[in-house]
Amino acid sequence: MLMEADNSSKGRLKFSLFMLIGASLLLVATAASISFGAADMSLDVAWGALFHFDSGIPEHHIIRIFRLPRTVADIVVGCSLAVCGAVMQGTTRNPLADSGLLGISSGSTFAIALCMAFLPGRSYVETMIYSCMGAAVATAITYYMASVGKHGMTPQRLVLAGMSISMLFGSFSTYIALKYDIGQSLAYWTAGGTANVEWTQLVYVTPVFVAGLIWAITLSPSITVLNFGEELAAGLGLRVNRIKGAATIIVLLLTGLSVIVVGPIGFVGLIVPHIVRYIIGVDYRYIIPACALYGAVFMVGADLVGRLIGRPHEIPLGIIFALIGVPYFLYLVRKQRREFG
């Protein structure tokens, strides 16, 4: 008993330290993201733009109109995707779950392609709703297809189902893109980027994001239990289906809003939860807030790297994450081969 208490206080200490480091990293990354870009600015100019705005200084406008919303968008999306990944990995007990890999983003993409083609005068909220609906359809199909059959949901089956759903929605999107001549604009958006985010968009997205995040955190104790196994969780009096349903809705909301802000980016939801779990253990009460923080750090950092390498051109976020994520995925497959059989 004493040991246990000791362990948990040790764990809490480790967690607090980890969060503190994360917060300071995020602060540094945010400051860098605001000051560096196509034109570098000193930190005190950035500071001034934030807190002593002077409409006479052009740099202040650049920061307020371009850099700041971009950084906020990075934070929102990074948090969302990492939390999505953690929630999915926890509830499905599948180490390879990620909203990009499971085809969820492709559903959103297809919905947005349809919007681009048929609803030119749509509002941002409408696009957001359609994007979430697309994500919902794709998730439903992927989960259903991966779980029917005698053998249940194995990682291989989930990944392959996700891949083929991505292919299917991808080919629908290609058809729409070719027919309505929106190919390249769709591709830029598919590659992922937060360069053109505006405050008016963030105003709509942020409340949904905050709601989703809080919901995920309140759900986290149940996810911890669920991660031990569904039967055990049911035996402990947990309403398994209800929790799974709530988790799915959180994933849909957060994925849908990320896709609309930045495009379908894979691997964030894969990498961040794994690193976090490696450091602070399997308790989702700690994992989910830590994922939110480090997801943001990752995204702001990746966006910064994409902006700085090969200036003045930008490397899209999706490509950066694929380049980091693919080796990481390979490593996971290799490490966990025993579990996969």
Partner: protein
């Protein structure tokens, strides 16, 4: 006596099916020659074939339609045989040039070639399949290196997951290349990625035709080896198969076939996966019959899809691969739900 009759029957049924499929392919090919933007009646097509057509009819049939039909057949065969070999070698129903990321590896090299060399006016039909082959082999080697663990047999699941991951990596690189393209080139790249029979020109076909036929015959010739390898490495060794050599030879053949098809026909993702399955269902797992059946099924799938895209107007010049993906994904998902 009865035994003999029985044996004859089981032997002739697959042969009959193969014959039937060949006739079907021919029929669809003839039908495909008739239809298109300019309709020719079957009689007119016949006249053209025996050399009595007008100049315009000759042009339509020999320069526009026939190459496309031949290409569809070759690409379908190449992908299907390649998938067949991979599934047997790895003993995994879900292996194929697409799922293992080998065709995306070829694709990356093709894309590089198109953007770097072709843009500078350096173009040779011979080089394209060769480069695709280099890309495919690189991808295959990468998969084996990454999935290899000392002292353990290659795990089929690990291979597939590795392939999927690498495939998405190549996809990201390809996307990066395509972003820098002009509108027209970009359209081409988009179509190519989903599968589009763009190399419908005799000069390309003259490269692909011997490629597919020679390697196809090699694989058929090796069907006994494939049958034994499919039983498991230990059994195969016990039966006197030099595993390593055969494995490498057949892998090279499979990659070569898929690369040739990918280079000129684009990335028909699902054909290499579905055709062997259908063939196994129709004629059983004996490679002597399964490989040719799969080849014919693959040819038929692409030919039908291509004829469909050319006749049914959908408001845009739709790449053939879109149709195939839309129709075949449900079947693949069904297979996935059945597989273990």
């Amino acid at each position: 006596m009865t035994q003999l009759v029985k044996k004859k029957l089981t032997f002739s049924k697959p042969v009959g099916i193969i014959l039937l499929l060949s006739i079907l392919v021919l029929l669809v090919a003839v039908l495909s020659m008739n239809v298109g933007r300019l309709n020719l009646s079957p009689l007119e097509v016949l006249q053209v074939i025996i050399g009595k057509g007008t100049e315009k009819q000759n042009l339509i049939v020999f320069e526009l339609r026939l190459p496309r039909i031949v290409l569809a057949v070759l690409v379908g065969m190449g992908m299907a045989i390649s998938g067949c070999v991979m599934q047997s070698l790895l003993r995994n129903d879900l292996a194929s040039p697409g799922t293992l990321g080998i065709s995306s590896g070829s694709g990356l090299f093709v894309m590089l070639y198109i953007t770097v060399f072709a843009a500078n006016g350096f173009w040779s039909p011979m080089l394209l399949p060769v480069l695709a082959f280099v890309g495919g082999i690189t991808a295959a080697m990468l998969i084996f290196v990454l999935a290899y663990r000392k002292g353990k047999e290659l795990s089929p699941t690990g291979l597939i997951l590795t392939g999927v991951a690498l495939g998405s990596g190549y996809g990201a690189l390809t996307l990066m290349i395509t972003l820098g393209l002009e509108q027209k080139q970009y359209d081409f790249a988009l179509r190519w990625q989903i599968g589009n029979l763009w190399g419908a020109d005799w000069k390309y076909i003259m490269v692909l035709l011997p490629w597919v036929i020679i390697i196809g015959f090699y694989v058929c010739y090796k069907s006994n080896t494939l049958n034994t390898l499919n039983l498991g490495n230990q059994t195969a060794t016990g039966l006197g198969v030099a595993i390593k050599r055969e494995f490498i030879g057949l892998t090279l053949a499979a990659v070569a076939l898929s690369s040739g098809s990918v280079a000129l026909g684009g990335n028909f993702f699902f054909v290499g996966l579905i055709a062997p399955h259908l063939a196994r269902k129709i004629v059983g797992p004996n490679h002597k019959f399964m490989t040719p059946t799969a080849a014919l099924v693959g040819a038929l799938i692409i030919l039908v899809a291509d004829t469909f895209t050319r006749t049914v107007s959908m408001g845009a010049d739709v790449p053939t691969g879109v149709i195939i993906t839309i129709f075949v994904t449900p079947y693949f998902l069904y297979l996935l739900s059945k597989s273990n």
